[in-house]
């Protein structure tokens, strides 16, 4: 991975990112690079600012300071249309899945296709929906409502919706939270398969060590709003710093 980092430019480059809410400083001069075909896990305790970081990367939150370059474009400087174009290349799997309750699985998947600036005809829409559902093994749920699905199925459908625009980067916000260990492992395996099949880069926010161990090419530890340590799983397990060690014990 180190060799690859040296010869390619990052698809996401975050420099000196700071974000606070009132007097609560969440991120302080945070730096991070994500490279093509890399699975990068941001590890941190609950409330350490992981979700704030991922929401800044997708443009849902505006940073107070610093730059977030996605495909060489600094997000805070973009207008709505430019941001929309970047978002079409970046998939986001929400922690709560965020499936639209009032829509069927088909309509949930069609929604991003119909709303983004890239226009698709009905045949293409049908084909993309079928392909995305096949990828997650849930084609039979196409006419079901989200309320009829189990937690694991909902996560898979949310993943299918993320995949439908064929993104170059996928952001996963705690993908295994709320799932039993077996379903959690299935989701992690699916994430790895997606990377292999589509060559996507992924930024995974998690505190599930199973997920970290299985999916991470590289790990960044977020502590007190900063990038505290980084390395591979094996490198970090050997780190004796108590703030790092606590995650691997």
């Amino acid at each position: 991975m180190k060799l690859e980092e040296n010869i390619t430019l990052p698809v996401i480059a975050i420099n000196n990112l700071s974000k606070s809410f009132g007097s609560n400083i969440v991120l302080k001069d945070f730096n991070l690079n994500l490279y093509k075909k890399q699975n990068l896990v941001v590890l941190g305790k609950s409330g350490s600012g992981k979700s704030v970081l991922i929401k800044c990367i997708i443009g849902l939150l505006k940073p107070d300071k610093g730059s977030i370059e996605v495909f060489d474009k600094n997000l805070p400087d973009l207008n709505d249309l430019e941001l929309d174009k970047i978002r079409a290349k970046v998939g986001f799997l929400f922690q709560s899945n965020a499936l639209y309750d009032s829509m069927t699985v088909r309509e949930n998947l069609e929604f991003p296709l119909r709303r983004h600036w890239i226009k698709h005809n009905q045949g293409e829409v049908e084909q993309l929906v079928t392909e995305a559902l096949n990828d997650v093994g849930l084609l039979h749920t196409i006419e079901m409502m989200p309320s009829e699905l189990s937690g694991g199925m909902r996560k898979r459908i949310a993943l299918a919706r993320t995949l439908i625009l064929k993104p170059d980067i996928i952001l996963y916000d705690e993908p295994t939270t709320g799932l039993d260990p077996i379903t959690g492992k299935e989701i992690i395996k699916l994430m790895i398969d997606i990377k292999k099949k589509y060559g996507t880069a992924a930024l995974i926010i998690s505190h599930d060590m199973n997920c970290v161990k299985m999916a991470a090419d590289k790990i960044v530890i977020l502590y007190e709003g900063k990038c505290y340590a980084e390395g591979t799983y094996n490198e970090l397990t050997e780190n004796n710093d108590p703030n790092v060690k606590q995650f691997f014990e």
């Binding site: 709505d80 978002r87 986001f92 929400f94 639209y100 929604f111 709303r115 983004h116």
Partner: protein, 256 residues
């Protein structure tokens, strides 16, 4: 001290609501226009409210007539019942009761729907899917409530008057033609127009308050319940305040 805090929070909330209204007005003019979603909301908000509005309107007309009858008989003006009922329904009771029922049904449903979308990150998901959630969810709903309530109020008035006709005939004997002739003779442009215009403002109030409460919902499922509840309470209060203002304005303009 606690009163000062309450006063501060009241003014803060009022300020935020006005900012939300301003945002609505700015977004309303900007493309892209969510025409399909607007028509869908008109169907959900207007057409699906019709049975409830119709039923309450019918009962309102019927009960009002039955309640009025003894007093009217006492004063020897029983024949004037259709006129009294028509004026009270068209000018005041019809629009206000319809708006209150509408606030209970639609205000709470908008508050709860947007509130649950907010806490389950569906609004964020919409934004990352290339959609302006404010335009898609708020503008379309507020426009639909603003346009649908006047239509519902007119229909409710008509159904109420039909209920009144049945009420008159429970113990009396008035022909259908005579009843409606009396009503149309007694009503003037000054009765219908101000009442019709104020329902646009009632509809706007129900929509904007429901959306504001839902869109700014927090604290998980508890917050969703609070959003739905406060949307109904606040929009009902606002309907009475707007009604009071409407009466004063129509009086000043010489419509009374």
């Amino acid at each position: 001290m606690s009163q000062a805090i309450l006063l501060k929070s009241f003014f803060e909330e009022t300020g935020k609501t006005f900012r939300f209204i301003l945002r609505f007005l700015l977004q309303w003019f900007k493309p892209r226009y969510e025409v399909a979603e607007f028509f869908r909301q008109c169907y959900v908000i207007g057409y699906k409210s019709l049975p409830l509005i119709g039923l309450t309107g019918f009962i309102m007309g019927l009960v009002l007539t039955m309640q009025l009858r003894p007093t009217m008989i006492e004063y020897g003006v029983e024949s004037q019942i259709p006129i009294i009922v028509a004026i009270s329904i068209v000018r005041e009771i019809g629009p206000v009761i319809t708006a209150l029922i509408f606030a209970g049904k639609i205000g709470s449903s908008i508050g709860a729907e947007l509130g649950s979308m907010k806490v389950t990150e569906q609004i964020d998901a919409m934004e990352v899917s290339g959609t302006n959630p404010f335009k898609y969810l708020v503008v379309s709903r507020v426009m639909a409530t603003t346009l649908m309530l006047p239509i519902l109020a007119l229909l409710s008035d008509a159904i109420s008057l039909y209920g009144a006709y049945l009420g008159v005939n429970i113990k009396g004997d008035t022909s259908f033609t005579l009843f409606w002739t009396q009503i149309f003779d007694s009503l003037s442009f000054n009765d219908v127009l101000p009442a019709f215009i104020k329902t646009y403002f009632f509809g706007f109030a129900v929509g904007i308050i429901g959306c504001y409460k839902g869109y700014n919902s927090n604290k998980g499922t508890e917050g969703v319940g609070k959003s739905a509840n406060s949307a109904v309470v606040l929009s009902s209060i606002l309907i009475f305040i707007l009604d009071l203002l409407a009466v004063q304005i129509t009086d000043l303009l010489g419509f009374n």
